[in-house]
Amino acid sequence: MVTITGVIPRPTTYSGLWGWLTTVDHKRIGALYGVTAFFFFMVGGIEAGIMRLQLAQADSDLVSAEWFNAMFTMHGTTMIFLVIMPFGATFFNFLIPLMIGARDVAFPRLNAFSYWTFLFGALLMHVGFIIGQVPDAGWFSYANLTAAPFSVGKGLDIWALSLQVLGVASLAAGFNFVVTIINMRAPGMTLMRMPVFVWMTLVTSILLVLAFPIITVALIELTADRQFGANFFNVAAGGDPILWQHLFWLFGHPEVYILILPAMGIVSEVIPTFSRKPLFGYPVIIFSGIVIAIMSWAVWSHHMFTVGLGPIANSVFTITTMLIAVPTGVKIFNWIGTMWQGSIDLRTPMLMAIGFVALFIVGGLSGVSHAVSPSDFQQQDTYYIVAHIHYVLFGGAIFGIFAGIYYWYPKITGRMYNELLGKIHFWLMFVGMNLTFFPMHYAGLNGMPRRIYTYSEGFGWEGMNLLATAGFFVLVIGTLVFMHNFLRSVKKGEPAGHDPWDAPTLEWSISSPPPVYNFAEVPQVKGQDDYWITKRQAAARGETVPAEPHIDPSTVHLPSPSYWPLVAAFGTVWIAGGLLIDFGWDYIRFPLSFVGGLIAIIGVIGWSNEPPAAEHDDAGHH
């Protein structure tokens, strides 16, 4: 095999389908992540819509109970693993090398591998819709509901195995960004000069590489139980379903911060730019981010107050959970302090960022209210929790992501979006979001349990549910406005110039969209908010700073495209996918899975034997 794979030269094409399939360019991979994440945002949104329509009135029979179970399971899984995380990866990929002054990430092919593995894993997750066996045990799939006798069919196998694959993709990306940020900073870019977004990416990536092995183990145990008859969560054999909850939330709580920290990083870039002021308390916001990451490991059992851990464990986790609100609150004050007495420019990114801060405060406060375990006993498994999670993940993460999309739109596409449509989008999102999720607080405290597919009249839940469903349609209109704005402006928007916001970070010093080689000359970083320093020094001399001039790309050595990440990713997914196939004969899944392993091994061998560059590197001719 060594010889077979060794002789295949690296691909040389940079355009067309093959160009995208074999690309290792971090900007292209970022774009792929973004498009995929937005696609699944719509899928998850449709699933949410089906649930909202079903619950709009009492005793509705629009969908069956099983279908409803499938909807809330896929909605949660999709939005967390296929939308918010890859949106984070979109920004990591596109921006991190630009922000730290690097040509690419440390391992460009590993980066491509992460994307393809993610995409295949995401598709595998949706195979259930084709074979009619959709995962339906909720996004945290508590044992022993997931045990073979209680979850018949392949739904839960699909869920466990594709989540495993998505974990591989996330781990690969996490390793890559840790190494990239530690090791590929431009000269002068010390740790305490890095933009906050880079810091939050580093913290997120470290959380990711430490937290994902735990869900990997949990999923291995679940898969072993379901596929190989192990006893991990088999109560009859003495197994303890609570172990699943512990393992899941040991991963799950750091995961919450994996979702929110990138958004916090984005907001920390947007607010100073549009307040015309450096970030207030830069070191404090960094350290609070690190403290959040460390403390996120000490709060997981607050998801489990009602399982009967006993008063000591409940008290400990109540205290740690209330403490983690402190560094989060510190960040809020940092952002408010940055805006304080700034000359605020209410462009769409800034509106989204302010929306993030406001809505995250609401979500944070309701979070503190169920940090108190006695009060959590009232709220557990009610719509109050649903309201809370959507305030932090929709009001928080999604608003942060949209702030980032609008903020970097001119850098990514080279054109301006339509400001008016952007503002309309923001207000529709803001109003729709509150209309959808605020009533859920009341419904929840009135006793409406989450995950019920219908409810009877007379509990006083009808009004709140109708409001929430109305809010969903406001969100739909807002998203349509965004799509129209986004697609139209790509072609017809005003040319943006390299630095439309007078922003402080390095990515704005190069032309928009960035050239394939990023920086013609590696920047020398002078301090925090380096590009502001450059522009201020130039202004003192009475000059303006133009975009960095273009050079002939063929003079720059860039990583060549490669087929192998695609092959290795396909093999990796096939290991999992093979286990799902039986053709009526149960044992066929083992050889099929083994074939996937062989493909992955061939991919890895080809990968490591590949020549370092294509023979005729035509990087410049595209």
């Binding site: 060594v2 002054g101 690097a102 040509r103 440390a106 391992f107 781990l171 996490g174 390793f175 840790v178 190494v179 530690i182 090791n183 590929m184 900073r185 431009a186 000269p187 870019m189 590489v209 430490l210 937290a211 994902f212 092995p213 735990i214 990997t216 183990v217 949990a218 291995i220 145990e221 072993a224 190989f228 008859g229 192990a230 006893n231 991990f232 054999a237 003495g238 197994g239 303890d240 172990l243 393992l247 040991l250 000359e521 590696v522 003079t555 720059v556 050595h557 061998i605 490591s608 020549p611 370092p612 560059a613 590197d617």
Partner: protein
């Protein structure tokens, strides 16, 4: 540090200068090992949580053969020594010694896997299948994934040996062997933990009727001592 230098770099393997001075791949390996600690940590935690909770036998004391596992532990530990000698040989550019030490390491790694295959088979014959009880599920999963790590390491070392035997210009570099070595040693230290917890301490966990705690493999040791 100066990225500009790489702008015209020829397409030969040149180590890129990095911010911290640590090679990218080496840093990656250490981050991976840090991450893998959590993987094995969770598997070991599962084993420890379920320790003593199985409701049917065989229980560890009925079948675990500590003496023979002590030998396989010794083999794996010594393979770490030969691995470090291989790294030293690679760093001094001594291809012949490198290949010799790599082969020694591979043989010892295979020996360890051989012991594990023997052990698993002996357990199966005694009635400990994967689905038998909590002990079997958590034991086979933990040691099985460790064995998979060792197998992957053997495969990796074989690839390096083949490359070294063909010796295309300058490969494998000292760094290539070094990184494989880091992985190999990590697998060894994980086994140090597993051996202590599952064999030396947990190997004597007995079922409810502890009177006839099995002495498989202990016979010859007790004979020797008394």
């Amino acid at each position: 540090m100066a990225h500009a230098e790489t702008a015209h770099a020829p397409p030969v393997e040149v180590e890129e200068a990095t911010t911290t001075g640590i090679n990218h791949r080496k840093l990656l390996m250490w981050v991976f090992l840090g991450s893998d600690c959590l993987f094995f940590g969770s598997l070991i935690a599962t084993y420890m949580v379920y320790r003593g909770q199985s409701i049917v036998g065989p229980y560890p004391a009925d079948i675990v053969d500590v003496p023979i596992t002590t030998i396989s532990t010794f083999v794996l530990l010594m393979s770490s020594f030969s691995m470090v000698m291989a790294v030293a040989a690679a760093r001094s550019g001594n291809q012949k010694r490198l290949i010799q030490w790599l082969l020694v390491t591979i043989v010892m790694g295979c020996g360890f896997i051989g012991f594990q295959v023997y052990e698993f088979n002996a357990f199966r014959v005694e009635g400990l299948r994967y689905e038998t009880n909590l002990f079997s599920s958590s034991f086979y999963t933990l040691t099985g994934f460790h064995g998979a790590h060792v197998t992957l390491g053997i495969f990796w070392l074989i690839c390096i040996t083949i490359i070294a035997a063909r010796n295309p210009a300058g490969r494998p570099s000292g760094l290539d062997v070094d990184i494989a070595g880091l992985y190999w040693h990590f697998v060894d230290i994980v086994w140090i933990v597993i051996f202590t917890l599952l064999y030396l301490i947990g190997g004597f966990d007995a079922g409810p009727d502890a009177g006839h705690a099995a002495v498989q493999g202990w016979n010859w040791v007790t004979g020797l001592v008394s």
